[in-house]
Symmetry: C2
Subunit: 194 residues, 2 copies
DNA sequence: CTTATCCTACCAACTAGTAGGATGGCAAAG
DNA sequence: CTTTGCCATCCTACTAGTTGGTAGGATAAG
């Protein structure tokens, strides 16, 4: 082995993640990754035989990162508001410094009808996972009276998912990173009791 | 002329709009349009020399439709709530019957960093136009005390844009057309006085 | 005659993916 | 310790198909 495959696979995943966030699934090619990191196209196919495999790996990695960060915080017993702020704060920073201007699952979600079935399935799984966490956090916050919900935890979760992903889209469309921060914080402020 | 160019150009625009809504700018090709309507690829280039030209025309047409429908309703003196409901109701129906499952500008907005500059500019113009209308409607509703805003008309407009486009994305990601209806109506209900 | 429309027949560049060979680490056999 | 063979990694070179776009001709309406 001239180099650890783990490292190379990681670099490929990171490059693919950046490309999907910015250009979408049909907007990037193996040649783009080849240009971004120092590797030949055929070597990418060695690690991820097809584009479908690569996209699935990117989404799965993103979900695992979410799980280790936020499901862990949840398990540690942090209160609902802290958890919500941790999640939103993450995206605020990523969008502000342009290190991750869009959730990879959100981008693929928009492209859903154009994706290979297996990728689409993985994207839906990401949203289910996110939705489940959000619902639990909202329900626990409502139970402890830290949060006031207008509807059920289920409906409020759907509303927040829409708002968060919509704010990402709007921030991009208006070329204004502040927009995400303003909208998301507004939504959280409204959930927390006065 | 074997056929009226106006009609052909219209059919091309409609096919392109459908394709962009479902697959995005980089997800469709001239061949897709050629398959959708009965025309050769080269003939599409006669009406829209480049893909950039075609995308610009699609967005511009969509904005013009918006203007004739909603700026006209506004000019006719309809109250704020009626205008908001007309806008949201339009998308509710389009998403429910799958005739327009996503706003073409929203899809392109997500892809913005991957678009040719001229197309990106047109997309931004669409959002500016939409934003301006929404802000005016909200301000007029607040003035007449028909609507209660939590912040300024400006900030509330940004929040609503996020919510609406996010709800489109979420409806697609969850494969649930009802979601858009629920989220959007919730938002409007909250704006209208009790 | 001019012009708009639409066509067949191209093109160079790019797409995802394959074939097969070079390198080199590592482990078992001697 | 050394040799042998294996296998992961990465490469060059290639493929068949698709991409956006062009050249130039046929048809027909004004």
């Amino acid at each position: 082995m001239t180099n650890s495959g783990e490292i190379t696979a990681g670099k490929i995943l990171e490059a693919a993640r950046q490309l999907i966030m910015r250009r979408g699934y049909s907007g990037f090619s193996y040649a783009d990754i080849s240009d971004a990191i120092d590797i030949r196209k055929a070597s990418i196919h060695h690690h991820f035989p097809t584009k479908t495999d690569l996209a699935i790996a990117v989404v799965r990695q993103h979900r695992e990162m979410f799980d280790t960060d936020l499901l862990t915080l949840q398990a540690s017993g942090a209160d609902a508001l802290t958890q919500l702020r941790a999640y939103v704060g993450y995206w605020e920073r990523c969008i502000a410094d342009d290190s991750a201007p869009f959730c990879v699952a959100g981008m693929l979600g928009a492209e859903l009808p154009a994706l290979p079935d297996e990728v689409a399935q993985e994207v839906r799984a990401y949203f289910e996972n996110f939705d489940k966490w959000l619902e639990e956090v909202l329900a626990s916050g409502a139970k402890s009276k830290q949060l006031k919900l207008r509807g059920t935890a289920k409906s409020e979760a759907k509303l927040l998912v829409s708002l968060i992903y919509g704010a990402m889209l709007a921030a991009r469309a208006y070329g204004n990173a502040e927009l995400f921060k303003d909208v998301a914080n507004d939504a959280i402020a409204q959930l927390s009791r006065p």
